[in-house]
Subunit: 350 residues, 2 copies
């Protein structure tokens, strides 16, 4: 059979030996694979799209009308190996009748792990203490009873309560909360979708589920004021743009830590740098920064000693990335076959 | 009353405004306090010891016969603000009838927090990823599906079991284990005191307590071979010297991480550096290193990108250090009064 007679799928990235056989064994498909170990060129993508039924990838830029039109009416499915879809023009896909597969859930545990790690690192002054060792200052360091001491994540006899706050309370937030319970967390605050109402019965059942003294849906002000550890775990986009700004940060406890493992746009970087410099809060742990990856050593947050900045590695574990890639391939194949996908975004209201 | 008539206590370090009033309000005592914000000079200590009933501190060097003899027969108690007592000559104290107060337990949670943090940091390649950001390499970084990917602490659908191992299974180990349970840990291995026997009934009750599929006391070989995450949490001293050596490290899983938050002497630094370089295990997180604080940037472990080295901050949180200092003062005062101490080391077999 000539390639022309087989349905064409365009794969923007090799996904490794654990995953690629799922595609390569499908001899009924014409699999067009970007051969290099980097994100595919847009020119290569445009050249190969015409006539494709499916396209899978980490995309080099916006998946917009230009791309959808280039593929033409044959296109049935776009499959993205990501939980976010800010890079995809949903109304364009909806109008063209193209289905969208994505990879939520499978990265929940990896991001929850990283969230707990960043909360610990921000409280324990790991930015400064790692430098002490790397800069050969350990031998000369004058020990004192309170050197490097910051707030303790675990509750203690002297301070037996801990309140954890979540801006956004989806799967990753709840997986993070579950991990924190044995550290002695006693109370949980969270913000809900403004279109819904607070539900004290739900909060009571959550408190029982997580064995906490209290769980409460609150407004952003209360969240900022009362949290000892505050996790930003809400979607990006215009509705949450800079929700953590100067006004928000000024309300936080001086001993609190802020963790952002969702999207950089939720936090005003300059405001956070100022807040850390002036001690409005204790420390911060960020896996995401607005404008990433264009974040360099002179970025105000990278320069702050009490700020940990990681290069967006929330889902970066072998297990999770293989899981994401596998789901993305299966979404693609299901979409082509007109079957139910493992994870499909509902575009009916896009 | 002249100072000479009041019992003298020598305090080697100011312990801050939360703690010092406990001493300073005791006008019945002659409190002699080292005035500087560093460990006291030995010369100052020797000058002030004669006639003291108690001495409290972080000590400038070995508490040995020279110190005990210098204080003279008036000395009733030595109080150390530490959980370890390797710096104190126990037989000398026992022979002189001097009691020893120390500060165990109160730092359990702080060290357990740090142990979990280091396990996460070692698995998630935080040494390398922090450098990517600090060295301005993030913008130029070629993303690939498996960049920075290491083992995931949390269990996943693809790999649903996780075995955590403890070399030493005291309070800190068990507090660490409790924190790891909601990460999806399924099995726990530990080494016990050679003078006692394995006890399957105890192991069964531990499995039920921690809600694990299995808890098993094992020998060092099995511990090295089967642990996904291995914590070193045993006392220092000659009996445990270099127990983690080349032979031990060669048996470890290539995807495993090693965490040491107890004493540096348990790990052969050169062997661990070689093991990391050659990939015998995935990564390591160390709060202690043999020969500390004389550990500089050219130390083989500080140079290893997969090794996180922190400058012994296990107990360094405000809550815990205030708790330790408070206990140390109370031990001192109880010892002087001939009362039961909050935490006294039994010297009867020293």
């Amino acid at each position: 059979m000539s390639p022309g007679n087989r349905p064409k799928v365009v794969i923007c990235r090799d996904m490794g030996p654990d995953v690629m056989p799922l595609l390569m064994e499908r001899t009924d498909l014409d699999v067009v694979l970007w051969p290099e170990n980097r994100t595919c060129d847009r020119a290569w993508l445009m050249e190969n799209l015409p006539g494709a039924v499916g396209v899978l990838g980490m995309f080099p830029s916006q998946v917009n009308s230009e791309i959808i039109e280039k593929a033409g009416p044959s296109l049935k499915v776009v499959s993205t190996m990501s939980v976010g879809y800010e890079h995809i023009d949903l109304p364009v896909l909806a109008k063209a009748g193209v289905r969208l597969g994505y990879t939520p859930d499978v990265l929940t545990d990896a991001v929850a792990d990283l969230s707990v790690m960043l909360a610990l690192m921000a409280g324990r002054n790991v930015g400064e203490t790692l430098e002490v060792v790397k800069n050969s200052q350990w031998p000369k360091f004058t020990w004192s009873p309170f050197s490097f001491c910051g707030p303790q994540l675990s509750a203690t006899e002297r301070s037996p309560t801990r309140t954890v706050g979540f801006l956004g309370f989806g799967r990753i937030a709840q997986a993070t909360l579950a991990r924190l319970v044995p550290f002695g967390i006693t109370h949980c605050l969270y913000t809900g979708n403004p279109s819904s109402q607070a539900d004290p019965t739900l909060d009571q059942s959550l408190a029982e589920k997580f064995k906490l003294k209290g769980v409460r849906r609150v407004d952003n002000d209360t969240l900022a004021r009362e949290s000892d550890i505050l996790f930003i775990l809400a979607p990006g986009g215009p509705k949450t743009y800079h929700v953590v700004n100067e006004e928000f940060l000024k309300k936080m406890k001086k001993t609190s830590v802020l963790v952002n493992t969702s999207r950089g746009t939720l936090v005003d970087s300059n405001a956070l740098a100022k807040a850390l410099k002036e001690g409005w809060l204790w420390g911060a742990g960020l896996d995401v920064v607005e404008g990433e990856p264009n974040v360099t050593a002179d970025h105000p947050l990278v320069k702050e000693p009490r700020c940990i900045v990681l290069p967006h590695i929330g889902s970066a574990t072998l297990d999770t990335r293989v899981g994401m890639a596998t789901l993305a391939v299966k979404n693609l194949l299901a979409g082509i076959a007109g079957e139910t996908m493992g994870a499909e975004l509902d575009l009916s209201r896009a």
